[in-house]
Amino acid sequence: MSVGASWYLTLAAVLFTIGATGLLIRRNVLVMFMCVELMLNAANLTFVTFARSLNDIAGQTAVFFVLVVAAAEVVVGLGIIVSIYRRRPGATADDVHGLRG
């Protein structure tokens, strides 16, 4: 028998927290994006864990869709980052405040 679900959920919470904290700490837009991926993976781990503990395949289906949406999000996000860097090289997240109001 496998390790209990609570351990997986704890690990997922730790991963999510590391990702969220990194998103707040880092200024590099690319690294911030990777932290978002980290958070998505933590959520995926939670989905799979509940799919196992509730014996329900829908959790894994949700992970499937999260993967697709994450791929689309990365494509669009990296396109935005490339176009930002083309305008002003070396931009961090603090330099991009054109919509600040």
Partner: protein
């Protein structure tokens, strides 16, 4: 840990411990690495650890997809963009616009984790079971997941395909270099709204004033003149040249 070992078999517990350690170390590496390339490689490490945990939880198909799509495609995309934009993007910490923000962020993260772990002790309502069926044995994983995706969640699956097409088109539109494309595709006299876009101005920022003046006069110019001026635009043309060109009949 003794309780885990009592419930789980020893190989499962060891696998979980190693994979969890890999995940956490990789996650810290993503956040703490100075070089974005190292961050991306640490992200690969975390993704592999999560894939191992997926196998451990009878999600074999998702483990394969995780390695192929995430570690194979998404991280390679990250690395492409990092290499394209230059590796040496070190963050200037000394000109931090929000002093103390990192410390507060770490405190917030620890608080959030503590909150989640405290809330996890409660008994939460589960709601109704889903209509897509049980998870089944490991050998049935792909079959059951495929049936769930292609019957119960068929509409969501189709909408997903539309989402991917939109994402691809959006990425192409975002990453396109606008100036060269505009010079060819523009009809005569219809250039005014497109020319004012900030991306077109990026080449010659110091020539912004003359640029705007030329744009106002540009409406009267024929299409051939527009094309000529557009080719000369990146060199931040001098006003006399523009005036001569505009007044040319």
């Amino acid at each position: 840990m003794t309780k885990v070992l009592a419930v789980a078999t020893i190989p499962d517990a060891i696998t979980f411990a190693i994979a969890a350690a890999i995940c956490v170390v990789g996650a810290f590496g993503v956040v703490l690495a100075r070089n974005p390339v190292h961050s991306a490689l640490m992200l690969v490490m975390t993704l592999f650890g999560v894939a191992v945990l997926f196998v451990e939880e009878n999600a074999q198909f998702l483990a394969a997809v995780q390695v192929i799509v995430y570690a194979g495609a998404i991280v390679v995309l990250f690395l492409f963009v990092i290499m394209l934009l230059g590796v040496d993007r070190s963050e200037a910490i000394e000109r931090d616009p929000l002093p103390g923000q990192r410390f507060i962020a770490v405190c917030l993260g620890i608080l959030g984790l503590a909150e989640v772990l405290l809330l996890a002790h409660g008994q939460w309502p589960r709601g109704a079971r889903s209509v897509s069926g049980a998870q089944g044995s490991p050998a049935d994983n792909v079959r059951l997941l495929g049936r769930s995706v292609f019957t119960t969640y068929l509409l969501a699956f189709e909408v997903t395909s539309a989402l991917l097409v939109i994402a691809v088109v959006g990425a192409v539109v975002l990453a396109r270099r606008p100036r060269r494309a505009l010079g060819d595709a523009i009809p005569p006299g219809a250039d005014e709204p497109l020319d004012g876009s900030p991306v077109a101005d990026a080449g010659g920022e110091d020539a912004g004033g003359e640029d705007a003046g030329a744009d106002v006069a540009d409406v009267a110019v024929t299409g051939a003149d527009v094309a000529v001026r557009r080719e000369a635009e990146p060199q931040a043309v001098d006003p006399e040249a523009i005036d001569a060109e505009v007044t040319r009949p």
